[in-house]
Point group: C2
Chain length 194, copies 2
Amino acid sequence: MGRIKEFKDKEALEKAMILFWKKGYENTSLKDLLSEMDILNGSFYNSYGNKKNLFMKTLDFYADEVTAKRGALLADCPNFKEGIRLLFQEMFQCFDDNTAPKGCLLVNSISNDLLQDPEIQKYVKTEIDNFKLFFEEQLREAVETKELESTLDIPLTASIIVTYIQGVMRLSNLNYCTKNFRQQTDIFLTALGI
Amino acid sequence: MGRIKEFKDKEALEKAMILFWKKGYENTSLKDLLSEMDILNGSFYNSYGNKKNLFMKTLDFYADEVTAKRGALLADCPNFKEGIRLLFQEMFQCFDDNTAPKGCLLVNSISNDLLQDPEIQKYVKTEIDNFKLFFEEQLREAVETKELESTLDIPLTASIIVTYIQGVMRLSNLNYCTKNFRQQTDIFLTALGI
């Protein structure tokens, strides 16, 4: 029974995440959530407390299920240049998949207004900082193994990658053809010496 | 009288723009707008029709007053490398100014949900495309005068700049210190050969 409940909870959380991702936090009503997650009001309050709490849980779910898997493509690849290209490729494949929401949960669901909420801002900043640190680590390893030049500015290159990814995520919502994204990203990475 | 009315209209439009910029389109109510613009319901409907119409007018106002002035810093500079740095510098100065909203009106006020509205999506796409074309023109001129290398891929470099700016605009809402933005942008531009 424990496992079935866990599976059902995960399924409901994923449904809530996709709804926030598509509609944004403010535009998603409690009614939308109850109907999409197929649960009753009382059970919602027992499990999640309120809409914001549930939203924070979907952010964690996204970090574990989407961001971590994407990062593993780079971390598991013995070669940085190949790994970073695999990471971008996977992003562009997601954009091409019309059944899934485009872009990034954090970029799409968190309006600038919501971003001024201290708890949300702290969460997003921590995610961005962790993302930068992850790229820093990967870059450092590649410099140590002499795959990348020792003159590379590791922290600033990591910041440039994260900034560029944020831009790609935002623009992906405009339904551009990904061919252009693929070409420009290759030039972008090559120019940076990665 | 005509000039006073024009001035008053412009002032009211700027106030509406700043409200949308700070709060986002969905979070800005008609009541907020009437109070901020200091006009009555009837006069609002006569002048702007509805909230969406007013919003489109503030997007035009932003394009004329903010984006065009920023672009002119590059266009008026005889040297591309210097001009593009002036453009970024002006952006970072705006981020440092705590009295003004950070980021970009289009990034901050248009949620992913609103972006799926065909009229809004068309407007934003046209703005992004024009922004790319503007950079393409500027890059082409600099290649022709031999300031930049003839091997530069002009359309893709323009796309990379626009993508990066979108990322910077999004991240600026997290109140990061602009020192890091300035440093990473210099490395980014130099790597691209611009």
